[in-house]
Symmetry: C2
Subunit: 355 residues, 2 copies
């Protein structure tokens, strides 16, 4: 149990217009910090006014990317209450990320306590318009000033919050994605299953390339053979082919998404067959040509469910479900967002109230 | 040509004892900063007192590792002059790194001008004891506060300097390395050829594992087959087998080291055959068993040349040259350090005086 000191701000910011939040443009009045020092452990948990971080120019995070993060949301229910969605899953994932990255690990219960404590303080910042939420960003970085490559003796775990609109300003309209066959996101023995910063820096070039080609996102293939589908941009990806639903297995190169596992649980509850076998991209193109590629969608905390309307692999362009949202995609979206925003009963026991 | 403003410190630090510098423990009185803003380009080049950086907690570098760096040194010659070693090579490499990482690229001549300008200001900080030098760390990071994953609109390029002793406090004694067969550093289509921070964060786990096994460094294998040797820790690696010298080719997964290319140039000048064909680790073990593995050494800016005395791959432990420094290793070390510190003539035209 953390002892979290609270220093309230004396200078509250005005709340932004809920109709024009965008994603990651506004930050709340406070942030949470917990220090970690080698030989001491976690100490000085505190909620303080949102303010700049002072880093020595030699701080290891600025040179060797010793950092990881999580992403989650707080939702406003119709009754005006605030709730979280499976925060323990994020806490567990950061625990696993930090084991791989040699970063200190915060116990799951402390992580969840910290998130709840900050969201409680920032309760007024959780917006209420449909599709809006309070995005929560826990992150950790190495702040020891040292230029030799080794683990750091000091770290800061922090949480900041940002009121957000829907991730895609175009709403739940199908996106166009292209299959990246040149650059690689992850390979076995690497960091693909973690939310380390380096994974995202390495992926930017494909995003830029995709935009130049007129596509919103990239679909990553495995790093060894460039044959099997893995993830879309920063989402997991699902394919409905001839009635069966496929998604890449989480075997070290794919992020184990919280929305991903929630979708799998719902789909299995609804009687669908979900295959986590590796799926070759050529099989997807073949299914499309045979009229069997029924639905494609991405899943992630930021966008929840993102239908894919067009998939390009080399010279093949697959149109999916005439560019319309498929039935399974829509049902998952309605069910998950219903549970998250409290407009549908939470049969799965996934939501956690804040106080 | 940059217009570099200079604000001298009013509070000079005492110089540390040259006998106990270590690596990356002390920083000089000033640092150089150049800002980059989308739509404007590079601006406000300045040398200012060494001081903390203020970053918004949402600064992209802290979340998505949008950062890269270089490493180089300034050397004190017997005549008391200060010189650099192939600074244009570092400038070119950062240019290439930043293209892959979607970071703004500083022209080679501006990079070299900036390095020279800061080293000139910090000339008194270049130590003179044998083996000591002024380590120079150019780096860049994305400082825009934004949580959506995309390229940043603002960046800071900086240079800091640190007077250092020899990288290994044990001197040029042979190190023990183990062959990493579980974790991966790089794969084709990834960032292995760049000096992005993420490569180093991902490698820490192998360093920790190696230390637990009693080894100083890890030798990385290729990420696809875990079959071919690539790099040692943060150095390139050379193997002398039956008279021929092998080093991994720079084909996207291996850092193109400045010391590496300098060694290849010297070796070829001396009449050795240098092969940049991919070399399977099992061939190295086989050569060791047949008594043909004559020398192994790592190359890098920090350590210059680091002889390897023992190599462990799975259950095989190869002792190299009875744990002594080999003739070629010693000759490269003597020649390179002689050129760098100005005790031998620079036949290759590699050194650049500072003013």
């Amino acid at each position: 149990m953390l002892d979290i000191k609270f220093t309230p701000t004396t200078n509250k910011k005005p709340k932004p217009d809920q109709h024009n939040l965008g994603f990651g443009n506004y930050y709340t009045d406070h942030m949470l910090i917990i220090d970690h020092t080698e030989g001491i452990g976690w100490h000085d948990a505190r909620i303080v006014p949102y303010q700049p971080i002072q880093l020595d120019p030699a701080a290891m995070v600025l040179h060797y990317a010793m950092e990881s993060f999580e992403g989650m949301k707080a939702y406003r229910t119709p009754e005006g209450k605030v709730q979280l969605f499976r925060p323990d899953c994020n806490a567990e994932r950061m625990w696993n990320t930090n084991a791989r990255m040699c970063l200190p690990q915060l116990p799951v219960e402390d992580f969840v306590q910290a998130v709840k404590a900050l969201v409680k303080v920032e309760e007024d910042w959780v917006p209420s318009l449909p599709g809006t939420s309070l995005y929560i960003r826990p992150f950790i970085f190495a702040d020891e000033p040292h230029l030799g490559v080794r683990t750091s003796k000091t770290h800061q775990f922090m949480i900041i919050c940002s009121p957000v609109g829907a991730y895609y300003s175009t709403g739940i309209n199908p996106v166009k994605i292209f299959v990246e066959d040149e650059y690689t996101r992850a390979c076995p023995g690497g960091t693909g299953f973690t939310k380390c910063g380096g994974n995202y820096a390495a992926s930017l070039i494909s995003q830029v390339k995709g935009h130049e080609l007129g596509y919103e996102q990239s679909l990553w293939l495995d790093g060894v053979e460039h044959k099997y589908v893995e993830e879309v941009g920063s989402m997991n990806c699902f394919f409905k082919i001839d009635g069966t639903i496929y998604t890449a297995p989480c075997v070290g190169t794919v992020l184990p998404g919280v929305t991903r596992r929630s979708c799998i649980a719902l789909l299995e509850k609804w009687g669908y067959t979900v295959s986590e076998e590796r799926l070759p991209i050529v099989d997807i193109v073949k299914a499309s040509k045979e009229g069997k590629l029924e639905e494609v969608f991405g899943t992630g905390t930021a966008a929840v469910i993102s239908p894919v309307g067009e998939l390009r692999y080399e010279d093949d362009v697959c149109k999916i479900n005439d560019g319309k949202i498929g039935d399974v995609t829509q049902r998952l979206y309605d069910t998950l967002t219903g549970i998250q925003w409290g407009t549908k009963p939470d049969d799965m026991g996934w939501t956690v109230p804040v106080e």
